[in-house]
């Protein structure tokens, strides 16, 4: 245990001396770069921004799930001459939002494949006139049959995408699963399902576009990935790359929900701006944002496992299926991550994972914190409790006996080379939560209790950065430069949306340059200024982009030293003065750093074998719940989150990430239910789509173990998505403990518990001794 140093929050922040290493800035709770502006209300979000002559855009959407557009009529009561109207015919380039594929139309031309699909765009100087005009457009359809569940989609009676409704399939086949069943003492099967989830960022989607033939197109928007929008807009407009400029404005939350959709809304604003010759703002209200934009992929996982009576896992056969909605968008990559994480944090001598993403006629599902992993990990972590129960072993002991350890290989054959110690994380989580005593006491006291209590665990991992060869393809670049005033700037397309990009990267830069944190700032997130450091997704910013900033900073320092302007040691003013002199003398001071894949990382996209991720974050979470037998409501009473995320760069932000992720995970498990009516979200209002409030969230006790990772910036690994993976299975395990009943589907609402416990709706027995 020598390698571990640890600290915990909440409570007193540790002094700098308690952190790992000797750094001055990395590892300290540096204040958010944009924090003052946000607190004082001077931060400008997209709806705060206006330009002279700017008009407003709105979207006319489909009212049906699938059909051919027969006729479009502009109804009475609207002075149509005053409106700019854009249809698919006005698109100068390709009618597609270019992501992995180009099947997602910017505007439906002749057919629609989901409710709320954009068909026409309207713009007018008076934004109040738009809702009425949108309502006055009458569209006649020839209605076509539509598909509204994974089961219907895989049955294939109605084909709504491609040849077979399948966006993507993966197969991981490691060892010989079929030979393992004969050696098993127990075979345990189960089916686990997860629902869609709405991101509910505070700041709704919005964009402003401006176009002149000379300057080209500029988009300002609330977004995560300026270069995704850039790629998409170039494809849509046919403009040269240097005539399309994307600028991220202050963004109030994203959670993956602003990965692909801002390309759509940016494209819409662009088309209206190009037709009208005026700047155009499109701002979604909450209802439009909820019904029209992406959600987390619903999933269904079937697991069959062979296990010995001593609790040794012999084999897993996993079928992981997701609902991708009407177009392929990011479904393939979400499926990929879910597939790779399906085996969980365990060693499987034999494992097969068959996965597929299916088309249905609802708006495309998209990226959401965790990106497929929360879905398949929910299934595995619920299943582990059921395996334990089937063989009569405690859930923690079954996990302990099967944890991945250094030297063992994951489902893709990746040998664990990090110094991971899940047993230690588990032991610590159990001790802090008082797990054993509570588990025993709750089991004893629950029998006649009106309020039944339960405690459950989840152990899991989350891969940092893009999957497999993804980072190699991204080929990211980050830079540092100095302004004429001698200010040092970080140049990245990695965006701030509340998670701490600005702060972390400035900490890394300041540390690497050997100057004060306050002397470093972020260059504007503007594709005309910054290099493409890749999208701000996949828990990659601290680890991958941070490392590039680190290298770029070292390069900049060396340039200054080589020029003779900087000596062997310096103060911050001396450094800034040297930088200023360099800029004055040579015109610029800049250093770029390009991603170089670690030499020992190999990945085969065909066989899905190899090093799926350069590093993993690891965690054990414990949830304690009460189930009220009068109302069947579940309350989470306590939550302990212990994780190892490499080096913690900023304890305040890291703790915030974990707390926020756990709260979002509690919502995912117990509150948030998207109610679908033929592909349309029926509860697209915050009064009916229920997220937990502060009154529903328990104390979230966050603990880090720090094990610096060699390839990350100052030892950092990814952290953003990890906390989304564990809460749902830990909570459902706790509810199942409290009620002595298996619950295998989320969201788990009071109504579902009532059906099972009071109205005795049964489920088939799935565990058999052989």
């Amino acid at each position: 245990m020598e390698a571990f140093r640890s600290f915990s929050r909440p409570g007193e922040p540790p002094s700098i001396g308690e952190y790992l290493g000797k750094e001055r800035i990395v590892g300290t709770p540096a204040l958010r770069k944009e924090g003052v502006a946000k607190v004082r209300g001077s931060a400008r979000y997209i709806d705060d921004i206006s330009f002279p002559g700017m008009i407003f855009g709105a979207t006319v959407r489909s009212s049906i799930a699938r059909g051919r557009i027969q006729k479009i009529e502009f109804g009475e009561g609207v002075i149509w001459d005053e409106f700019i109207v854009v249809s698919a015919k006005d698109i100068p380039g390709e009618n597609a939002i270019a992501l992995i594929n180009k099947d997602w139309p910017c505007l439906a031309a002749d057919r629609v494949n989901h409710p709320e699909e954009p068909i026409l765009l309207l713009a007018h100087p008076d934004r109040h006139l738009l809702p009425k005009a949108v309502a006055a457009v009458r569209i006649e359809y020839e209605v076509l049959p539509s598909v509204h569940s994974m089961e219907e989609s895989e049955r294939g009676d109605v084909i709504v995408w491609g040849a077979d409704n399948v966006f993507k399939k993966f197969l991981i086949d490691n060892g010989n699963v079929d030979a393992a069943w004969d050696q098993a003492d127990f075979i345990v099967e189960g089916e686990y399902t997860t629902g869609a989830q709405e991101h509910l960022y505070i700041d709704n989607n919005g964009a402003i576009a401006a176009y002149t033939p000379d300057e080209g197109l500029t988009i300002w928007g609330s977004m995560q990935c300026p270069f995704y929008a850039h790629k998409s807009l170039v494809c849509l407009t046919g403009l040269p790359e240097d005539k399309v400029r994307i600028i991220q404005v202050e963004t109030g939350g994203a959670f993956g929900g602003k990965e692909d959709y801002p390309s759509m809304i940016g494209a819409h604003a662009a088309l209206l701006a190009m037709k009208s010759g005026r700047p155009v703002k499109i701002m979604y209200d909450r209802m439009e944002d909820m019904v029209a934009t992406t959600k987390r992929h619903p999933s269904r996982t079937r697991i069959r496992t062979a296990v010995t009576k001593e609790g040794k896992l012999l084999a897993a056969d996993i079928d992981f299926t997701t609902d991708g909605g009407a177009y392929s968008t990011l479904s393939a990559t979400v499926l990929s991550r879910g597939t790779i994480h399906a085996g969980g944090a365990y060693y499987w001598p034999n494992i097969r994972v068959r996965s597929k993403a299916l088309a249905t006629n609802c708006p495309p599902h998209g990226a959401f914190r965790g990106f497929g992993a929360p879905q398949s990990l929910f299934a595995m972590e619920r299943h582990m409790d059921r395996v334990a129960s089937a063989i009569g072993m405690s859930p923690e002991e079954l996990r302990r006996r099967n944890f991945l350890r250094p030297g063992l290989a994951t489902a893709t054959g990746q040998k664990i080379s990090e110094d991971v110690n899940l047993e230690h994380l588990l032991a610590r989580a159990l001790t802090i939560s008082g797990y054993s005593a509570k588990r025993e006491r709750f089991s004893r006291e629950n029998i006649r209790a009106k309020k039944k209590k339960g405690i459950g665990i989840a152990a899991f991992l989350h891969g940092s950065g893009f999957t497999g060869s993804g980072e190699r393809y991204l080929n990211s670049v980050a830079g540092m430069d100095a302004t004429a005033e001698g200010k040092l700037r970080v140049l990245v397309s990695s965006t701030e949306f509340g998670q701490g990009t600005n702060t972390i990267l400035c900490q890394i830069a300041a540390e690497s340059l050997g100057i004060d944190y306050d002397a470093v700032e972020m260059a504007p997130p503007d594709t005309g200024i910054v290099p493409n450091s890749g999208p701000t997704v996949a828990s990659r910013t601290s680890m991958i982009v941070g490392k590039l900033v680190h290298s770029a900073a070292i390069g900049l320092r060396q340039t200054l030293q080589a020029s003779g302007l900087l000596g062997e040691s310096w103060t911050t003013p001396e450094f800034c003065e040297a930088a200023k002199t360099h800029v004055a003398k040579y015109g610029a001071l800049r250093s770029d750093s390009r991603y170089e894949p670690p030499v020992d990382v190999h990945w085969d996209d065909q066989t899905y074998r190899g090093e799926a991720y350069a590093a993993y974050a690891w965690a054990v979470y414990v949830a304690e719940v009460t189930v009220d037998m009068l109302t069947y409501g579940v309350t989470v009473d306590d939550f302990v989150a212990v994780q190892e995320v490499g080096r913690v760069l900023n304890p305040t932000l890291a703790t915030g990430q974990i707390e926020g992720g756990v709260a979002q995970g509690i919502g995912y498990a117990l509150y948030e239910k998207v109610q679908w009516e033929r592909g349309r979200m029926a509860n697209g209002q915050m009064t009916n789509y229920i997220i937990p409030t502060s009154q529903d969230i328990p104390p979230i006790r966050v603990f880090f173990e720090e094990m610096p990772f060699g390839h990350g910036a100052y030892g950092a690994k990814g952290i953003g998505e990890l906390p989304m993976d564990g809460p749902a299975p830990a909570i459902l395990n706790a509810v199942s403990h409290a009620t002595d009943t298996d619950f295998n589907a989320i969201p788990l609402l009071a109504e579902d518990i009532c059906l099972r416990l009071a109205l005795r709706q049964t489920v088939p027995v799935e565990a058999v001794a052989v």
Binding site: H128, T693, Q695, A750
Partner: protein, 292 residues
């Protein structure tokens, strides 16, 4: 905002007489608005049918709580914040103070009024069950005079009330006669705060010699209107609260309520939980008797 402000009239007469005169001269034309917590949501969503709005927020006559030794009168314009903080409401009508604390968030409670809650006539509103069990009386006013009506007779059907187009809900009158009664209230929502009820219940009762001498039960979100459970009450009156009596109460309740499936819950859940809450209330009643 999905509505266009230019399509709406907003009048603010500034006095109760002025408001009543407007309602009298153009009955049905004007929608009285106090805190706006319901109306502005509909306006924002583009679903507000009324086009002419009449401001009540600045009518001080509606904002008073007055009392004698035997009565408490709550002006229709009193906010939930006022109600939950009022000493006499807390002392004599604690179920009402509690319901006020359940309604919306703090910002809503600062704007939303008791009369608005009543005339909006949502079957899921939090305050009606308490008003039903306290046997509140409503005073309605128009330019032609006032009339009084038992609150129990106010709701005629889903979103239908006895309020005439010329009328305004002036005040809610309560009798201070529940000191020492057993009381019970529960709200079941989708979360612990800022949730519209899936079911809410309020009850007051008295035991004499172990038998039910009086029992008033009100429930929300189990029928087209807030419901006083008279048949269940009658079945339990005079009984000793044995297991059989409680089971009988559950049975009667299920004949009396008519919950629906909607976006917030299911009919079968509501039936089950309504019966559970009734049972819980009766067990508490039997155990605590009059020691509220």
């Amino acid at each position: 905002m999905r509505s266009h402000p230019a399509e709406y009239d907003f009048a603010s007469p500034g006095s109760l007489a002025g408001v009543l005169e407007r309602l009298d001269s153009e009955p049905g034309e004007w929608l009285p608005v106090a805190g706006g917590t319901e109306v502005m949501v509909q306006y924002g969503a583009g679903r507000l049918r009324a086009r002419r709005l009449l401001n009540l927020w600045n009518i001080v006559d509606l904002r008073q709580i007055t009392e004698t030794s035997e009565h408490l009168s709550i002006g229709g314009g009193c906010t939930f914040a006022q109600l939950r903080g009022h000493v006499s409401v807390q002392e004599h009508f604690p179920l009402l103070a509690q319901a006020a604390s359940w309604t919306g968030g703090i910002a809503n409670q600062n704007r939303a009024t008791i009369a608005g809650n009543i005339v909006n006539a949502s079957p899921a509103a939090d305050s009606p069950p308490a008003l039903l069990v306290y046997e509140a009386e409503l005073e309605l006013i128009s330019a032609r005079g006032t009339r009084r009506i038992a609150y129990a007779d106010f709701h005629l059907g889903y979103k239908k009330t006895a309020l005439q187009p010329r009328e305004l809900l002036l005040a809610i009158h309560l009798q201070k006669r529940f000191a020492g009664w057993f009381r019970y209230a529960q709200k079941t929502g989708a979360r612990n705060a800022q949730a519209i009820s899936k079911i809410c219940v309020a009850a007051v009762g008295k035991l004499r010699d172990g038998r039910v001498e009086a029992l008033h039960i009100g429930m929300g979100a189990v029928a087209p209107t807030p419901l006083r459970l008279r048949k269940t009450e009658e079945a339990l009156l005079g009984t000793i609260l044995t297991e059989d009596a409680i089971a009988n109460g559950r049975r009667m309740l299920l004949t009396e309520i008519a919950p629906i499936d909607d976006i917030r819950s299911s009919a079968e859940y509501r039936r089950q939980v309504a019966a559970n809450l009734l049972e819980d209330m009766l067990r508490n009643f039997a155990a605590k008797g009059n020691a509220a």
